[in-house]
């Protein structure tokens, strides 16, 4: 039987170890206290230690007889879906709710290869109208509809 390395498990193990090291390092910079009066660093340090140990075990067990492939990655999705909320966060105060939301929906719409540009614009317009009516007018959420960047 051939030994293989399961990439998914190996990467997961490494990520757990790295996360554990980060939390452990940060915890050591805080007061640990005693087990009677635990400081802010005590509990996270213990957890981080456990996470590192689990990470090591996961990594060791990645070497086994059969490895499962990771499969395709949604690169286009990552590049267009993840920036959408970030864009909304960056512009909602400046552009205001209406313009910011329209562009957010438009960015997200292009994450699919099947979306045609004119449909994307139409969809973004409809989403913006609906959301402005429901969230801003009907539910009265405190959004500025048009922000300072759009005033001349």
């Amino acid at each position: 039987m051939k030994t293989e390395i399961d990439k998914g498990d190996a990467i997961a193990g490494i990520l757990f170890i790295l996360a554990g090291l980060f939390f452990a390092y940060q915890s050591l910079g805080m007061e640990l206290g005693t087990s009677l009066r635990m400081g802010p660093g005590y509990f996270p340090l213990v957890l981080a230690g456990v996470l590192i140990l689990l990470g090591i075990t996961v990594m060791v067990k990645a070497v086994r007889n059969e490895a499962e492939p990771i499969g395709p990655l949604a690169i286009r999705g990552i590049l267009l879906i993840l920036p959408a909320p970030i864009f909304f966060g960056l512009t909602v105060r400046g552009l205001g709710f209406v313009a910011s939301l329209f562009l957010t929906a438009l960015i997200a719409a292009f994450a699919s290869r099947k979306m045609k540009p004119h449909y994307a614009v139409l969809l973004a317009v409809l989403v913006t109208i609906f959301s402005t009516l429901v969230f801003s007018y009907a539910l009265g959420l405190p959004f500025q509809r048009f922000g300072p960047w759009l005033r001349f």
Binding site: Q26, M38, G55, I81, F88, A105, A108, L141
Partner: protein, 501 residues
């Protein structure tokens, strides 16, 4: 007679015009997301959480609960019609339900699923009403040590019930606990793990984490391979099951209800386990096991009753102890906290109208579902043809609005993107997100109770094993952990979950 007067108070609360309306909105929305691909109940509740801010506490919880069990109904509809379970708990329904649909008995399968769910939902609601009050009395006696041990049991069970590698699920719990600790330490005021970003001093936003890990990650996975879904072309007719069908569904329905009610109380996703267990039981008990997998009514009636009963009884630990049994319940905790209600045994005594109103609304919601869904099935089938690329820009827009409106903090939106990426990477590495979210919610509570217990015992860790309830709970956690690592059980567990993929 206290039971009856409590229930009367509950029904009086739940049947106010506003609450009936929110219950209706909840179940319709729930069915909708259960039917539509790519957005589960967890992500929807996470998105709507901020909006419920504006509502009365009772109304908001009634609506969120409605989404939860509505999604279970919707999930079974897609499982039967297109062999694609909308919710993981209806994965089992797809096995025989889809076969029935292919034989032209889609209507029967849908009706059996709906009737089974309604029956189980009604019974389980009464069980919640009967068992919740005595449990709150027990829970009021709980000290810090008991709470700590109970949460340990909850986290361990969520690991046991997660799919795939137990080790990775354990690591996800620990990572979740650590992420839950991000923010200012309540005892010393020290900011922890915020890397100098003051906007995270109040902790990472729970809604942002939930939307990222469940919603965004799921969207990204759906975008990997965009296929068009095939909907059954056969029209759905002959909804009412024949007398023979009725005869065959009664016993599985009763067994499924019993099984689901018991397993639903277990922390960590009882509804999913309940439907799998019920399917196995029905197959074993059947005189014609060869029919299973080829369209057995029992294979739909049992698991559907079980998962709905489990969905209802999973409210018991939430309402009595304030401990969430699954990610949806964790979101309900979030909703209660937003409303300024501390989940736990005090809810029943301090807010009886809220407590009993939610319980009564569950039964009303189930009734609405059966009245609404059987005639509306045609509409739901049409919705299945909505292409996915139209859906997710809408979801993204609503996610962004929802997360931002919780506390008008733009850093929460950046957290959505970060946790979306984390969730997607974890999904690719076959790590379950549910244990992470439970850990995230319980992290601060676990630490607080640990510290309090240690102060009360003057630094003696023996307090966790010398107090009987605490010792029992820890022992139970240990047993669960040992059992899932046993080789035979692991093999069996793999078999059970293999059908889910």
């Amino acid at each position: 007679m206290e039971f009856l007067s409590n229930l009367a108070l509950g029904f009086a609360t739940a049947t106010s015009v506003a609450n009936l309306g929110f219950c209706l909105i909840g179940v319709i929305l729930g069915t909708l997301v259960g039917v539509l691909p790519g957005i589960g109940a967890t992500a929807t509740i996470a998105m709507l959480l901020p909006i419920t801010f504006q509502l009365e506490p009772v109304s908001s919880l009634i609506m969120l609960a409605g989404i939860y069990y509505g999604a279970q109904y919707g999930g079974s509809t897609t499982a039967i019609l297109i062999n694609m379970p909308g919710e993981s708990s209806s994965a089992v329904t797809a096995i025989d339900g889809y076969q029935l649909a292919r034989k032209g008995k889609a209507g029967t399968a849908l009706a059996v699923a709906a009737l089974g769910s309604f029956f189980a939902g009604s019974v389980a609601t009464f069980l919640v009403a009967i068992f919740a009050p005595p449990l709150t009395v027990v829970a009021l006696k709980f000290g810090a040590a008991e709470y700590f041990s109970l949460m340990v049991l909850g986290l361990v069970s969520s690991v046991a019930l997660a799919h795939g590698s137990i080790l990775k699920a354990l690591a996800m719990v620990v990572l979740g606990l650590l992420l839950g600790l991000v923010g200012t330490d309540i005892y010393s005021g020290t900011p922890r793990f915020i890397m100098g970003i003051r906007e995270y001093a109040d902790g990472l936003n729970f809604v942002a984490v939930a939307v990222g890990v469940f919603g965004i990650a799921e969207i990204l996975r759906n975008l990997e391979s965009e296929q068009t879904r095939e909907v059954m072309k056969t029209s759905v007719r002959n909804l009412w099951p024949s007398r023979e069908d009725f005869r065959r569904m009664i016993a599985p329905m009763l067994r499924g209800t019993a099984l689901g009610s018991a397993l639903g109380i277990l922390p960590g996703g009882g509804a999913i386990l309940a439907s799998f267990a019920s399917y196995t039981v029905e197959k074993r008990m059947s005189k014609t096991p060869q029919e299973f997998g080829r369209g057995a009514i029992e294979g739909v009636a049992g698991p559907e009753s079980a998962n709905n009963a489990g969905a209802q009884t999973s409210f018991i630990p939430l309402l009595t102890l304030g401990i969430p049994a699954n990610p949806v319940m964790a979101l309900m905790v979030g909703a209660m906290i937003i409303q300024g209600i501390v989940p736990g045994p005090n809810v029943a005594t301090e807010q009886p109208a809220l407590f009993w109103g939610i319980i009564a609304s569950m039964w009303i919601g189930n009734l609405m579902l059966i009245v609404l869904n059987l005639p509306l099935i045609g509409l739901w089938v049409k919705l299945l043809t909505v292409p996915y690329y139209v859906l997710f820009p809408i979801i993204m827009a609503f996610c962004s609005i929802g997360v931002y409106s919780v506390r008008s903090n733009v850093y929460d939106l950046y957290a959505v993107a970060a946790f979306g990426l984390l969730g997607y990477v974890m999904l690719k590495l076959r790590c379950e997100p549910a244990p992470l979210l439970l850990g995230f919610v319980l992290g601060p509570l676990l630490e607080e109770n640990l510290r309090r217990a240690m102060i009360l015992s003057r630094g003696d860790p023996a307090t966790f094993v010398s107090r009987p309830i605490s010792a029992g709970l820890l022992l139970l956690s240990l047993v669960v952990l040992v059992v899932v690592f046993l080789p035979q059980v692991r093999k069996k567990r793999d078999e059970v979950f293999v059908e889910d993929n």
